[in-house]
């Protein structure tokens, strides 16, 4: 059973999606470590190290995602998590923006998978299976 860390980054309290992600991933055979809302980069990294997680799934809904996710990849590398898969989804920027551009920016920041608003976790399962198995 593969372990994944999920949570909502920054000063963000959107909890609904997070609870559903927890439920859906668990149901689909993952060991889900849910650090919940209002989580810092450190929270994610510590949880991943402690549980030997294969992927970190960051949610950001409230608009400050771009700020909150800066240097996340570098922090992971420093913590010895250079192989861990980094996913981000939700409403990760402020306002309605062209997603092609947004994806580029986040990929450049080191994220492996970047999801636009409205992509349900069910749809991302295929990617997760491809990237880390079950």
């Amino acid at each position: 059973m593969k372990t994944v860390v999920i949570g909502v980054i920054g000063a963000d309290v959107h909890a609904v999606g997070n609870k559903i992600i927890d439920y859906v991933l668990s149901k689909n055979g993952y060991n889900v470590v849910n650090i919940g809302v209002l989580s810092s980069q450190e929270d994610f990294i510590n949880a991943a190290i402690e549980t030997d997680a294969k992927a970190i799934l960051i949610s950001s809904l409230y608009g400050h995602g771009e700020l909150d996710c800066q240097y996340m990849k570098e922090q992971c590398d420093e913590a010895g998590l250079s192989d861990i898969k980094l996913y981000v989804g939700g409403n990760i920027v402020v306002g309605k923006q062209d997603f092609i551009q947004v994806e580029k920016r986040f990929k450049k920041m080191g994220f492996d998978r970047v999801y636009p608003p409205g992509v349900k976790i069910e749809q991302a399962l295929v990617d997760l299976k491809e990237d880390i198995g079950i």
Binding site: A11, V13, A15, V16, Y23, G63, V94, K96, Q97, G118
Partner: protein, 485 residues
């Protein structure tokens, strides 16, 4: 333990001194109470939130208000002016950014600077504390309708001081509604005290002859919240506010989706708020209602989103809400442009205007739903008062701990988090898992029966999957969710 008792003026003034030192903008001549009283007395009736609400209530019409806020002062003013002129907003908000909500004024300061540099807002709202009385007064001076701060701030004491001194005549929030859905581990006792302070400030102004409006935040998590739960919170926050001397309160409710249940909830909310205020000895509080257009996940297709907005507006008007908070076609994507925001307003306003001469006819289905909600609220409030040994503030703190009151999907660890809502076959929100909710067996049976009926008709099991399907349902264009397979 926190008590529902009016804060003595001395205590209030003492805390006030500290509060104003929380950030440099707390030091401002307008924040001397004599000065702020003078300023507030200069507000003309058409810019006073409380008075405009009284007038609307008398006329039986529904007024509209958007959400809106950006980092930079000038851009914020431009935005509000646009919403007033093009959007024809009856009330204007200033939605506060998330850093300010967490009292992280330094982050907010960085956000403003970075926004100035990049020439666009990097914050998700207006950092009112950082802009201070001067900035907020400039906002006030540049619009022609009443202003309100809308946020989600557990400790909004400094913010409230600044906005009222800037002649903003309404403030949204409450010790419960701006904690449980908006925080993770902040003590409920603390936030109730913080909001007693905010209410005491409004009470103080009332003593000086100034009527300000307060609005407990109704929709909570905005996601399948059973009416009895949000109504109970609204009533309790009204009582807490009234004790501090607040006289003009707007209780809120977020659209659930079923027309009859939503209208019933609005009616029950208004009637029971008045009822309980009187019961607890608060005689002269003026109550209005606000209906929030669908607060859960929105459809991403813009035509579908505007359909939902049109439907919501119909419900608000038929339910005779005094105010409606509008959404936009950008909702599922991100903070709306001013154009999208104004369009949402105009669509909403068209509908409430068209329907201003109409209301939902009385019917037994409506009456039964009103009675049901009232019974449930009575049951919850009874349990809260009981566990608080007569004190509603103590009671609510203990009730959350015991799970007697439980808000679905709330992020707060203070919340029991065991309740699971789901829709019945008509789309009315019922409860699937009760946790320790303060419900009698009779009430529970009613809910269970309704959900068993749905399960039968939909040929499925009673399970959390129902709840999940229902969470997705509206954004996918239906009300009662179902699993496709």
């Amino acid at each position: 333990m926190v008590k529902n008792e009016k804060m003595p003026l001395q205590d209030f003034l003492k805390i006030r001194e500290e509060i104003l030192q929380g950030w440099p903008t707390g030091e401002h001549p307008a924040l001397k109470l004599e000065e702020s009283v003078k300023r507030l007395k200069s507000v003309p009736p058409h810019k006073n939130f409380a008075l405009k609400l009284r007038k609307a209530k008398e006329e039986g019409i529904t007024l509209v208000q958007p959400r809106a806020g950006v980092a930079r002062l000038d851009e914020h003013i431009e935005l509000l002016q646009y919403l007033e002129k093009v959007g024809q907003a009856d009330f204007l908000p200033s939605t506060i950014d998330s850093y300010t909500r967490h009292n992280r004024y330094e982050n907010a300061e960085d956000g403003i600077k970075e926004s100035e540099k990049q020439g666009r807002s990097l914050l998700n709202g207006f950092p009112a504390v950082n802009h201070g009385v001067d900035g907020c007064t400039k906002v006030y001076e540049n619009v022609n309708v009443p202003l309100q701060a809308r946020h989600g701030t557990p400790d909004a004491r400094l913010l409230s001081e600044i906005i009222h001194a800037s002649m903003w005549t309404s403030n949204e929030g409450g010790g419960i509604s701006y904690n449980i859905p908006y925080a993770k581990i902040i003590s409920l006792e603390d936030t109730i005290r913080y909001w007693q302070y905010v209410d005491r400030l409004v009470g103080y102004y009332y003593e000086q002859g100034i009527e300000l409006n307060r609005e407990p935040y109704g929709p909570l998590t905005g996601t399948l919240v059973p009416p009895c739960i949000s109504n109970t919170v609204a009533i309790i926050e009204s009582i807490l506010a009234a004790e501090q001397g607040v006289k003009n309160i707007t209780v809120g409710y977020g659209q659930g989706g079923n027309l009859v249940q939503d209208i019933a909830a609005l009616r029950a909310l208004e009637e029971q708020t008045n009822h309980y205020l009187k019961l607890f000895g608060y005689e002269d509080v003026f109550i209005t209602t606000v209906f929030h257009q669908w607060m859960g996940g929105f459809p991403s297709n813009e035509s579908e989103a505007i359909g939902l907005i049109g439907y919501a507006s119909t419900v608000a008007a038929l339910g005779k809400a005094t105010k409606m908070i509008t959404k936009t076609t950008h909702e599922s994507q991100g903070i709306p442009t001013k154009e999208a925001n104004a369009k949402g307003l105009r669509t909403s306003k068209m509908v409430v205007n068209l329907l201003k001469d109409q209301k939902a006819p009385d019917s037994s289905e409506l009456q039964e739903e009103i009675d049901q909600i009232k019974k449930e609220v009575d049951s919850l409030i009874h349990a809260i008062v009981k566990i608080g040994k007569g004190d509603i503030a103590t009671g609510v703190v203990k009730a959350f701990k015991a799970g007697i009151i439980d808000i679905p999907f709330a992020p707060s660890e203070l919340n029991n988090g065991k309740i699971l809502p789901a829709r019945d076959i008509d789309g009315k929100i019922r409860i699937l898992e009760f946790g320790c909710l303060g419900f009698s067996d009779e009430l529970k049976d009613f809910h269970r029966e309704k959900l068993v009926q749905r399960a039968k008709i939909q040929k499925r099991e009673l399970s959390i999957q129902m709840t999940i399907d229902d969470i997705y349902a509206i954004s996918e264009g239906c009300l009662v969710g179902f699993t496709k397979d």
